[in-house]
């Protein structure tokens, strides 16, 4: 394939396949397959048959309870709220991402479930309600005690560990979503011609190309 042809083909494939949410695509195909009695379909990003089956199986399972998912949504939006530039963590699908990851990498299940239990227990101790039932101010009182690892009190260390996990998963989930990629300003993943660092950037840092 010549370069121009390959560029055209690429644009088509990204608009065609990539625009469809793979989870939806897979769910649709699963329904179709059930009716048609065909083997599980591949999703639109080059899955092998065993990968497609594995992912479909994980997606059909449910790990977190609705109450746990609600808590994950609140926490993720405390960590990455909507601002003037972009939406919030929950709007980008962070709770669903964490739900998938704990099924995909099961060693995260206990840290998350246990951390959420720890948080509800702490909320009960302080305010007689679970975390989702607290006011915004009450929630932040607890979060402030576990969000700063270097100044947190020693008896908060389990909460700090949980919040670190929560912060990491929220950041990864948000910035690898469509909303997050637009926010961070990543401009690649498309056919182009690399002709070096833009002139104004070179000038700012004092570099120049030789020859």
């Amino acid at each position: 394939m010549k370069r121009r042809e390959s560029l055209r083909a690429l644009t088509l494939s990204t608009f065609g396949v990539a625009a469809i949410n793979p989870q939806e695509l897979l769910a649709e195909r699963r329904e179709l397959d059930k009716v048609m009695g065909t083997p599980p379909a591949e999703v639109g990003f080059g899955r092998t048959a065993e990968e497609a089956v594995h992912d479909a199986k994980l997606m059909a399972e449910k790990y977190f309870t609705d109450k746990e998912l609600a808590t994950l949504a609140i926490l993720s939006d405390i960590i990455i709220p909507a601002d003037s530039k972009s939406g919030s963590a929950s709007q980008s699908g962070v709770p669903q991402f964490i739900e998938f990851m704990v099924k995909d990498q099961p060693y995260w299940q206990t840290p998350f479930r246990g951390g959420l239990q720890w948080l509800d227990r702490e909320s009960q101790k302080r305010f007689n309600k679970v975390f989702t039932g607290l006011s915004k101010e009450q929630r932040l009182k607890i979060v402030d005690d576990i969000a700063y690892p270097e100044k947190a009190k020693p008896d908060m260390s389990q909460g700090v560990a949980f919040f670190n996990n929560m912060r990491n998963f929220t950041a990864t989930g948000f910035f690898s979503s469509k909303i997050g990629i637009d926010d961070i300003g990543y401009m690649g993943n498309r056919p182009n011609v690399w002709d070096g660092v833009p002139a104004d950037v070179l000038q700012k840092y004092g570099y120049r190309y030789e020859g």
Binding site: P22, I79, P191, P198, Y209
Partner: protein, 581 residues
């Protein structure tokens, strides 16, 4: 399952086991010369341009795990290579406290689907290390013997770079290299201050078209996902598919070879037997010549498992050298944060897959306390976010002033944290050393006496320990990395790896450059192959993967595998014409 063994009626001129760099090259050259070739691949069919396999130019959110590693693809959901360090039903074992990890890719093109496309020729000294430092063994061939084949590989496959005229890092016939990215300017400057020369990288990526079958690079930085324009080197697109197009190659996928069959009278190979990985049917393929290219360890396993009255210690193993002298490249890494790269202007700097720069070995080992060198690979830039993005911000954002110039507490949450991720994006650099280990008979793979895989094939057992040579080299890498990071105005991540961790020296196997298990040599008592990759004990058996290497240089092995496989193919053609085999 059927125990009936199926045999096609024909006898092939050549049976090749493995479709990676070595097997792909042999198939292509032999088929072009008119030989009828059976090419057996243990994994599935793969073509990077077929939409059903394409992961290139997909977005992280198309993967429910955002590209995280899985047991099916250890380098992440978008990497082209199927398989990894562990494959279900295909175990390997270890002894003597060994940490060797074995990466296998069960697919057409093998491990050329996952590599950095770093395409370095070995230098003149790399073929004669024993003459220089008294350690290991010299090769039976020298640089001048291989150089014409390096030239041919350059022209057939394509490699970019810059002619630097370095004594032990010979220039290839280069395509133009891509311009440096911003952090690469910084690293080059830092290297100058630290006394580490930095040159344009040498990668098998087409910055210009070289023929009508392959496109040129469109700078998505995703070579590891396989290129649908065939603009980088993978054995599938560049060798196997063109080989099949000659009409002389019968490609059989999912063919897991059990053993090489031999004639009890002549001791010569008559073909191979294999099991179909999916149907579990048993097959025999007959051939006048058998070429093994299943990867260094897999080919050694095959030879050792091919026992007969005539070859009681395994085929081509009267020397008992098969499996020995196993050595991988050394590897150690360090990352850093560079404050002056915070708050960067956004633009697309994907570039080619991998760094646009590298540092070939620049010192004289005679003046150092370790015998062999290493090169440095670099990373950094405004890459595509994926699984792991933003991880560990609590270790960084308390160390530098915020946008308002004030210090803040590490960790946190909310709008200010969200802004930190934006400000820190693209402000990290990384570097990895890749060095030469000294080959030793004490590091080896052998047949495990008690364990078989799911096909009933006896598996490999590894025994491997790094020596002081490699550990001291890793220490030197870490010292060098800190000098470069300091000169770049960066702050190294974490604590410096020390003696307790062998200075961050990766477990053997982790760099996926393992070679040496069927080494070549002039003496049949101390080598498996002669200087033409031909078995001393059976003249119609060849091994054309990294197993043939006497020593791994401080280079990546692929270019030399390709050159030696081409050379062995020419030798086969010559020997057949002379009726010697």
């Amino acid at each position: 399952m059927s125990f009936q063994i199926k045999e096609p009626p024909t006898e092939f001129d050549v049976v090749i086991v493995g479709s990676g760099a070595g097997g792909g090259m042999a198939a292509y050259q032999l088929a072009k010369a008119g030989a009828k070739v059976a090419l057996l691949e243990a994994g599935g069919y793969y073509d990077p341009a077929d939409p059903k396999y394409i992961t290139q130019l997909k977005w992280p959110y198309e993967s429910p795990r955002r590209g995280a590693s899985t047991p099916f693809r250890n380098f992440g959901d978008f990497d082209a290579a199927w398989g990894g360090w562990e494959i279900a039903g295909e175990p390997y074992t270890r002894k003597n406290g060994t940490e060797f990890d074995w990466f296998r890719s069960r697919m057409m093109g093998g491990r050329t689907n996952h590599w950095g496309r770093i395409s370095l020729r070995f230098g003149p000294n790399d073929f004669r290390r024993k003459s220089i430092d008294g350690l290991g063994e010299d090769w039976p061939i020298d640089y001048d013997t291989v150089a014409p084949y390096y030239d041919q590989v350059d022209k057939l496959v394509g490699v970019f770079g810059e002619a630097n005229g370095l004594p032990n890092d010979p220039d290839s016939i280069f395509l133009p290299p891509p311009k440096m990215r911003l952090h690469e300017f910084l690293l080059k400057d830092a290297g100058k201050k630290a006394g580490v020369p930095v040159y344009p990288n040498r990668l098998s990526i087409l910055t210009k078209p070289i023929n009508n079958e392959r496109g040129s690079c469109f700078y998505c930085s995703q070579c590891n996902r396989g290129c649908q324009a065939y603009a980088d080197f993978s054995a599938s697109s560049v060798l196997v598919i063109p080989a099949v197009k000659t009409g002389n190659v019968t490609l059989t996928t999912n063919a897991m070879v059990r053993e090489v069959l031999t004639d009890q009278t002549t001791g010569l190979a008559t073909g191979v037997s294999y099991v179909d990985r999916e149907k579990l049917t048993e097959h025999v393929i007959k051939g006048k010549i058998v070429v093994l290219a299943a990867s260094a360890c897999e080919s050694a396993r095959l030879l050792m498992n091919s026992k007969s009255a005539r070859h009681p210690n395994g085929l081509a193993n009267s020397s008992d050298v098969a499996g020995k002298y196993l050595h991988d490249s050394t590897g150690a890494s360090r990352g850093a944060f560079v404050p002056k790269l915070m708050d960067r202007k956004r633009y697309n700097e994907d570039g080619v897959g991998g760094a646009h720069i590298y540092s070939p070995w620049w010192l004289d080992n005679k003046k150092l306390d370790f015998p062999r060198g290493y090169h440095i690979e670099y990373g950094g830039g405004m890459g595509m976010p994926g699984y792991g993005f933003g991880w560990g911000m609590e270790n960084t954002n308390g160390k530098y002033p915020g946008a308002d110039g004030k210090m803040k507490e590490a960790g946190g949450y909310g709008a200010s944290l969200k802004d930190d991720y934006r400000r820190y994006y693209g402000a990290y650099i990384g570097m990895s050393g890749r060095g030469e280990a000294v080959a030793s008979a004490d590091n080896y793979c052998e047949i495990d006496p008690t364990t078989v895989d799911k096909f009933g094939i006896p598996v490999l057992r590894f025994s491997y320990k790094w020596s002081d040579y490699e550990i001291k080299q890793a220490k030197h890498m870490q010292d060098t990395f800190e000098e470069i990071i300091e000169a770049a105005g960066g702050i190294a991540s974490g604590t410096k790896p020390g003696a307790d961790s062998n200075y961050g020296l990766a477990a053997p196997g982790r760099i996926i450059h393992e070679v040496g298990t069927t080494r070549m040599g002039n003496d049949p008592k101390t080598s498996v192959l002669n200087g033409h990759n031909q078995a001393h004990d059976a003249k119609n058996v060849f091994v054309v993967d990294g197993g043939a290497f006497v020593s791994q240089a401080d280079k990546n092995p692929t270019w030399t595998i390709l050159a030696l496989s081409w050379r062995a193919s020419d030798f086969i053609i010559d020997q057949v014409k002379k009726k010697n085999i």
